[in-house]
Symmetry: C2
Subunit: 404 residues, 2 copies
């Protein structure tokens, strides 16, 4: 074996086929890795010999976390805008002064490939240090053909450099850029004709931001259908600011996930349940934007799977730590501990169409994180979520290699 | 010099006497340390020779953070209770099954001195790693004379072991323990007669939890007056669950701080302003308990100084990271960046009657933290607060010694 994680106090496989509950709790075990895959899971006393060993005494081991909604490639800073808004500045005035998302678009367009990549690598490294091994990254800060493609390319390159599995999403319909402001219909046509054909080669998914003040359900449907025709799987930013019916539309089109969902109604829930659409909950954005919680109880009752992601971005969700988001999902949205932990592992992987990720089983990818619980706590799943930012990752393994 | 922090991109002295604003912003400077004190602050090019140097290129340097409200000494776990509540268990049923604060009291009473100290050291080390150099620790998980004294003693020993400045607070009136449950008046008499005389030798402050379901304003006043007579300065948990008038009472008695304050009214604000009482805001508890925000705008207008603390405890605020609390204070309570940063440094130090702490000036204690901003951000105060948990402390110096 290449590597063996020994003396694991608590293993959470997130593999509900193991007969050990949805979290797949096993105690006193070891995990052996060969050629980047989990080769063996069993009692620690029977652990096979390996070239390298990690002692996980007192720790939990989980699948590497899966962050299924991020905007991790951007340049520029919104810290000044954050400060001004807290000091009472009017957001419309900030927008008119060139702030908000379009300032990130300007900075991203003017950043070199090298600069964008350096920034992305630093952000992904910080995420890996907290236990993330798979990440989704969206474009949407370019809003022109060249920059949209650059973002997608940089996302793949940066993830490869850090050692993460990455899935990229084309989000040309994230906002209407300044040069198209007077002509949103023209911009949608530009996305379809000039961005999508180039971006499709660098993306796994297509996404669109449908909401009050963003794109309409009709525009969203047109773009998603075109993305599907170009071979991309679908996802959507839906029902965040206002109820629009976007989630039901995307579910009917077979989207993998609908994300945000604070304003989701019963019809949307029913459509998501019927079509097997995953709900991606984004507690960072809910916190920073003071949104109401999404209808978690109704989603649960309808059987809609719940994923949790950081939505890492410099405006509405400056949060890169998926553990913190798991805790916020419990405290502010009402997820159970089990739902939150599945939401950042197995369900998040399903949302990225990566059914082997986010769970640990023999033959699957050797992506895992060794975590120490907070001081005085047992190696118990709840202890990882109870303390905000309190989980202490001590090793992150991606494809069998320790990357943090 | 013993130590020189060189090439500091941005120094925040938090010293408003320097003429550089309330944050005391200086750029391109160095800080030299001798005998545990700040010996020199000036342009980097003129930095004196020193035995050790730290390169702070690209970083900010601030005073070591001051956490002015914690319950950091406890044993036992409430993770199971956290999980049960999220799964829908009734809190009253959890209390009747022996859960809640009284489970922490039982576990703390039965823990050995060595165990309590080990746990406290681990928690304080984690706080030091995040930049905290001064901490307040309350008793209140003993609720009997012996254990209350043990907690206060352990707090001082653990802080000394980690290298932190500590102030301890006797909080015998934190809850009514099980054995006194039928006789709250008897318990108050016991606190006064049997706990306070012993605890006073190990404490700097006396505190009481006045609220619906806890102690009355009259009981609180009796205990605070007795504490003052025993030589302790006063602080109070006030106006968290219900408006009681506790803050106004404590302000009139000359309390250093009133803490929580979600239900504070205009009379309480006026009393605090008149008596110079500091408001200690606890955004962790607000988040976990889903409390409304305290009246920050009215406190600000009245000129009440605002401090921010973690309230670290295993029940209502399992949060040990003061940076996270500074961000939450901005996002959920509406503090400005300047208020949040002063609230975890200079104002927090004032709340502990430590006027030399929480700011950097020649002759003051050499407690400081070197912090890297998040990826891509400038060394700007706002960047430390914008990203939840995003500040990256790279060195914590306490009394001139690097402790993390």
């Amino acid at each position: 074996m290449d590597l063996c994680i020994r003396a694991i106090e608590t293993l959470l496989t997130m593999d509900d086929t193991s007969g050990a509950g949805r979290l797949g709790v096993r105690r006193g075990v070891a995990v052996a890795v060969r050629d980047g895959r989990v080769a063996w899971i069993g009692p620690d006393a029977e652990a096979p010999a390996a070239d390298n060993e990690i002692d996980a005494s007192g720790c939990l081991v989980l699948p590497g976390l899966v962050d299924c909604h991020t905007h991790a490639v951007w340049a520029g800073s919104r810290a000044g805008e954050f400060e001004q808004r807290l000091a009472g500045a009017d957001y419309t005035a900030i927008l008119e002064a060139g702030g908000g998302i379009l300032s990130t678009v300007r900075a991203t367009r003017s950043a070199s490939d090298q600069r964008l990549r350096t920034l992305a690598v630093e952000r992904l490294r910080a995420m890996a240090a907290r236990g993330t091994t798979t990440v989704e990254v969206k474009s949407g800060y370019g809003l022109d053909p060249e920059t949209e493609v650059r973002i997608l390319r940089v996302a793949r390159e940066a993830a490869a450099e850090v050692g993460l599995t990455v899935r990229t999403t084309f989000l040309g319909a994230h906002a209407v850029p300044a040069e198209w402001r007077p002509d949103r219909a023209g911009y949608v046509a530009h996305v379809l004709a000039d961005q999508l054909p180039l971006a499709a080669a660098h993306a796994d998914f297509v996404d669109v931001y449908v909401d009050r003040g963003a794109f309409t359900v009709e525009e969203g449907e047109t773009i998603l259908r075109a993305g599907a025709a170009a071979g991309l799987d679908l996802r959507i930013h839906a029902e965040q600011v206002a109820h629009t019916g976007a989630a039901a539309m995307a579910a009917r089109l077979g989207a993998l996930s609908c994300d945000h969902l604070e304003q989701l109604d019963a019809e949307g829930i029913e459509a998501m349940a019927r079509h097997g659409t995953i709900a991606v909950l984004l507690p960072g954005a809910m916190l920073y934007l003071k949104d109401p919680p999404p209808p978690v109880a109704a989603l649960r009752e309808a059987g809609v799977p719940l994923a949790v992601a950081t939505d890492l971005n410099p405006g509405s969700s400056p949060v890169g730590d998926l553990w913190t988001c798991a805790t916020l999902a419990c405290v502010t949205m009402g997820l159970t501990v089990e739902e939150a932990l599945l939401g950042v592992t197995a369900v998040a992987a399903d949302a990225l169409a990566l059914p082997q990720h986010g769970r640990l089983r023999e033959g699957g990818p050797a992506d895992l994180v060794v975590v120490r619980p907070p001081p005085g706590e047992q190696a118990h799943a709840a202890a990882l979520v109870q303390f905000l930012g309190g989980a202490q990752p001590v090793a992150t393994i991606a494809r069998g290699v320790q990357i943090a």
